[in-house]
Point group: C2
Chain length 340, copies 2
């Protein structure tokens, strides 16, 4: 490439640092990152990384490290790609509002490497003339105060978010270009025609096992022992398949079996359970809320997923209160409602 | 009464101490109690009670205080009434096994003043020639290491457990006799023809709000705010009514409204939520398990209650593990099952 693109990555948790590291390792772009929590430390000393893909890396930092999105915006750089690797919590902070200062209309391609489903819809609504790209990642990585432990190779399925306002070939071009910027011979970003299929595949696990473990407070091994895999997660998986089918996506016969054997040999705590235990808000809206909205649009009956969603909405309320996002009156107000 | 009956009460939590206190206050029987956790202290100093019914009582203790059921058995006394006010946790400890040493065939009447539903079935199966009596209590009381704080008057609906092997009039007689032994002018034990109706009434709250709060980790006020009352507890209440109806019991039109306004003005934490927070096992089997067994026998469709039960079964598994009731292999065994 003759001209080096400017890439800004926002969200440097376990996944984000490894995606950033991968883009930097490829040396095909000028990479900046936004680091909120550990800014001082990272800006000074960089990250210490133990990586299954990149080996032992001491003090890695990219070209620019910013403490906030607005700082990244004030740099004056025009970003060709803005890569989002934060948690996606629309009920707490909307991604489209977060990135507004660094998205240049018509120029910036927005890349969402996040959990969940139907993530591009609000981004396209806010930035109707920008390319939006969707990445479904399977990286396994943890970042503890700048020490990154990367245990599962960086494999990412990347497709166009299909903005109806832009020509398809342009979107495919930008998507393939991003895959190229991100590929470095060690990692495995894969261009795909239909990102939605890969979102559904991941939801077979995340909308069912992840949610059920979060509600019941157990890992996937204990869930199986206690009968919750058979009584809840498995029938919920069939509801995910039913929505996918109504959406024109026929997942392979063994998709459920594959999801249920992902944690073989491990008492694995999925992400939502980890969040609940830490008192962090859960990615309920993008994992289950968006799926149920699409299911409803398609007229699919999903009683178990609806029920999990209703219960987890209450859990999320508790977590939001715990984060100080609202406070209740000291006396509980008396409801005058007559219930029947 | 010319002959004073021997009464043994087992289980001296908040409810149990007040029931015992009430029976003792009536002075119509020789009362013994089994105190497990605070035996030393209670045997020496008795209970300090602040009671809405009995005022301020210092150092109350009945005739005999025993540290265990077997100690009560070894005293040589024949008990005319054995009153159980423990938690009812058949998946952890069976009441019928617990009381076996103090139940004399044909003589002892067993009185269950406990939460739940269809409690008499296993007792009658084990003691086919004994009267079994069922009490649905609304007392509000807490016992903290021998300090009892009794805030809500002792009101108890008491009926025959209807042992099919014994004449009905004998069972009614023994039930009325127990109500008389327990009545003291301050409290309010009420003889009822059909205890099952009162069990159903209490389940409108306990099978729904109590279970949902336990799962989501919030009190009933927050459950309402977060939408869980409308999305889960209310439709679950209709399933309880449907089982009662199939069982020949038509509950009054305003039963649901009454249950939902019980905690008006209070961010109330129901018993199961309190247990989950303390890491104690929950009364899942008697509150929900027994109800669903009866619902199934009667052919009633209860998807929400089933679902709550499945999830809480997993929670109970976690609580039992936390109590050290089992340990798991260090490595999760790999399931060879093919799921579809």
């Amino acid at each position: 490439m003759s001209h080096k693109y400017n890439v800004l990555l926002i969200g440097t948790g376990g996944v984000g640092t490894i995606v950033a590291c991968g883009i930097d390792y490829a040396k095909k772009s000028n990479l900046s990152i936004v680091v909120r929590r550990d800014y001082e430390k990272v800006n000074e000393k960089g990250y210490d990384i133990e990586s299954i893909d990149y080996g032992s890396v001491k003090g890695w930092r990219p070209l620019n490290v910013y403490p906030s999105v607005s700082a990244a915006s004030l740099s004056g750089d025009i970003y060709d790609y803005v890569v989002i690797t934060t948690k996606n919590l629309p009920d707490i902070m909307k991604i489209e509002a977060l990135i507004e200062p660094v998205v240049t209309p018509k120029i910036t391609s927005v890349v969402l490497i996040q959990n969940g489903f139907d993530l591009c819809r609000p981004i396209i609504a806010k930035f109707p003339n920008n390319v939006v790209i969707s990445g479904v990642t399977y990286v396994g990585s943890h970042n503890t105060n700048g020490n990154v432990h990367h245990t599962q190779t960086d494999k990412c399925f990347i497709g166009s978010g299909k903005n109806p306002n832009l020509p398809e070939d342009l979107q495919e071009l930008k998507t393939r270009e991003f895959v190229s910027l991100y590929s470095n011979g060690k990692n495995n970003p894969i261009y795909v025609q239909n990102e939605r299929e890969h979102r559904y595949r991941k939801l077979i696990y995340n909308a069912t096992l992840n949610t059920t473990c979060a509600l019941t407070g157990v890992d996937t091994g204990r869930l199986e022992n206690a009968g919750g895999l058979d009584s809840i997660a498995l029938p919920a998986m069939h509801e995910v398949l039913a929505i996918a089918k109504a959406d024109g996506i026929e997942l392979p016969d063994d998709a459920i079996n594959t999801a249920l054997h992902l944690d073989d040999g491990e008492y694995f705590e999925p992400s939502m359970l980890v969040d609940v235990k830490k008192g962090n808000p859960i990615e309920l809206e993008v994992i289950l809320g968006n799926l149920l909205r699409v299911g409803k649009e398609l007229g699919v009956n999903t009683p178990i997923l609806n029920f999990l969603y209703s219960l987890l909405t209450v859990v999320q309320y508790r977590l939001r209160e715990g984060q100080g996002l609202f406070t209740l009156p000291e006396e509980r107000p008396v409801s005058k409602k007559f219930y029947h």
